[in-house]
Amino acid sequence: MSTVVDRPVTVTEVDGGGDPPKARERRRWGLTIVGSIVALIFLFPYLIMLIGAFKTRPEILRVPPTYLPQEWAPSNFLTMWDTPETPLPANLLSTVVISLCGTALALLAALPAAYYTARHNFRLKLPFLLLVLITQMLQPTVLASGLFREFITLEINDTWLTMILVNAAFNLSFAVWIMHSFFASVPKEIEEAAWLDGCSRGQSLTRIMLPLVWPGIVTAVIFTFIACWNEFAASLILLPTDTNQPLTVALTRFIGQYESAWQYVFAVSLIGIVPVVALFALIEKHLVSGLTAGGVK
């Protein structure tokens, strides 16, 4: 959490303050260059994806490969919606519905749990929190076959609901822990002051607690949403019908045994990450720490 909200370490903090100016200048340049190279290495796959999405099918398979498309093919973004491999509009809808509902459900369950564990002491509090943490360690893949059986018994197999439940469950622990720490960081006297000021429990929650733990909620929402959006393994097993499958699974259908539609793989990947990046950019400014500063002492 703190890596998200903390400000980045600046160059001046990294280099030694005591060095002579010339050495410091050299060092700063060196750091900038090294940083740029590292960034480039990280960004390269995204660049390939971006460029590949605009290449025609023959060009993308050409040996030797081209860097920039010789013939730009934005039509990939239109034709991909209607391909024999997968019903992409349905897949996109699947991803959106599953991610939104999964996030909402996780949040709905995690918020009260986080508040309660942060404010109240009960006998099995630590075991409870550790249990929550342990669920984080089990991969959905490990449990997929068990879940598959379970959903058949419940007669909800091969529906969005299964993946909404699975996604919510697997992200619950992270959401609980993040928000627990945020709730715990608000001194309980602040809430008590609100009660004495005439607030009901609900009012003190909405008017005092929520604004103060807002960064924690936003963090939990972003990470849960991204995890739901990117989930692959469990969806692959639990959703056999192609119209129910999310984008992540649909993507694999473009890679066939005999031929692969790489231009679609890239184009679909692109529309798959754009909403997530946009969400992050929109919400990032809410991720400020230190909202509770000044309330006590």
């Binding site: 002491n121 001194p187 006297e189 602040i190 008590e192 002051a193 609100a194 009660w195 004495l196 000021d197 005439g198 607030c199 009901s200 009012q203 005092i208 604004p211 103060l212 230190g290 909202l291 509770t292 500063a293 000044g294 309330g295 006590v296 002492k297």
Partner: protein, 373 residues
């Protein structure tokens, strides 16, 4: 405005057999400034929180005026509280902090702003109304916390060590401000502190707590002049009262070979020959060596206005000077004595100590209770 009554109120915390507040009976009058004082962990905060409804009452009852509030949620008790850590709402401006209660009570905006301004003026907070608490100094935060309380005109003020985070000078200033503000507003106030000077200077009455048990509740003068037991005697007054164990014989309680007389009623009340003689530092008359209890000055503490002498007594000192056999078994004592400021006492000087008439407090060493006067 209202009275506050604790009626055998007890509070047991989970996992603790001993109550944090034990059968508290306390009656606070309308408009009174009552100070709760006692060492750390004695249950002061718990008492206050029981009154505010933040802590359950396991036995007994709490009443505000005629209203039994034992099971009422905090929001319905009409109590304003100043927390030890101020507990300001960090995301609101000073004005919003002060006006929050009025906002919850749906007071019209104009009237609310007027009330907030009035409170802010009273506390010199006007320039800071639009600031967030993070940008205030400790003293300003303290005043915002006060402002949040006084803007409400509640039935009862609860204050839990509101001055403990301020520096010494500001604390003295604010102490008088709070006391005079309370007199002006006339709101029944319960004020918690562990600083006995605060307790003595601010309270109409002071209640001394120890281990959850009420020791004594009296006016500052009463507490100072007639402490009910050894604990109160030692706790109230600075420097502390000299508490000297002594054994009673036919002449009285013997200290340093000198008897201090007991009344027949006092002898009657004794449960054993062991008593504790209490004399405050200002209750001694300093005599030349040879008179009274013989003592040697060990440390001289010069405060300018006063001088405190830390003297050690021993049977030999008295015996050598009085040239008669004293009880050799008596252990030496350290006695604090107040002398006028700028006196010429030296370390190592031999002096005689005589308790002033009326300055002697006698306690039963076994029960700790005060012997009848």
């Amino acid at each position: 405005m209202a009275t506050v009554t604790f009626d055998g109120a007890s509070r047991y915390y989970a996992g603790n057999d001993k109550p944090a507040v034990d059968q508290l009976d306390l009656e606070v009058e309308d408009g009174e400034f009552l100070v709760l004082v006692g060492p750390s962990g004695c249950g002061k905060s718990t008492t206050l929180r029981m009154l505010a409804g933040l802590e359950g009452v396991d036995e007994g009852a709490v009443r505000i005026g005629e209203r039994d509030v034992t099971n009422l949620p905090p929001k319905d008790r009409d109590i304003a509280m100043v927390f030890q850590n101020y507990a300001l709402y960090p995301h609101m401006t000073v004005a919003d902090n002060i006006g929050f209660h009025l906002k919850i009570k749906k007071m019209p905006k104009a009237e609310r702003a007027e009330r907030v301004l009035e409170a802010a003026k009273l506390l010199d907070l006007e320039p800071y109304l639009e600031r967030k608490p993070a940008k205030l100094s400790g003293g300003q935060r303290q005043r915002v916390a006060m402002g949040r309380a006084i803007v409400r005109r509640p039935q009862v003020f609860c204050m839990d060590e509101p001055l403990s985070n301020l520096d010494a000078k500001l604390r003295v200033q604010t102490r008088t401000q709070i006391a005079s503000l309370q007199r002006r507003l006339g709101v029944t106030t319960i004020y918690v502190t562990h600083d006995q000077v605060e307790a003595m200077t601010m309270g109409d009455r002071v209640a001394v707590l120890k281990d959850g048990l009420l020791q004594q509740c009296d006016t500052p003068i009463g507490l100072f002049g007639r402490p009910k037991n050894l604990f109160v005697a030692g706790f109230i007054g600075s420097p502390a009262m000299n508490l000297i164990p002594a054994t009673v014989n036919g002449d009285g309680a013997v200290i340093g070979g000198q008897p201090i007389g007991l009344t027949p009623a006092q002898r009657e009340a004794l449960t054993s020959p062991n008593v504790v003689v209490g004399v405050r530092p200002e209750g001694w008359t300093l005599k030349p060596a040879g008179e009274g209890i013989g003592a040697m000055v060990e440390v001289v503490e010069e405060l300018g206005s006063d001088q405190f002498l830390y003297c050690s007594t021993s049977a030999e000192l008295t015996a050598a000077d009085a040239s008669e056999a004293a009880d050799e078994s008596e252990a030496p004592h350290t006695i604090t004595v107040r002398a006028p400021g700028m006196s010429a006492f030296q370390r190592g000087e031999k002096v005689g100590l005589v308790p002033q008439p009326g300055a002697v407090h006698l306690f039963d060493a076994e029960t700790g209770d005060r012997l009848p006067d």
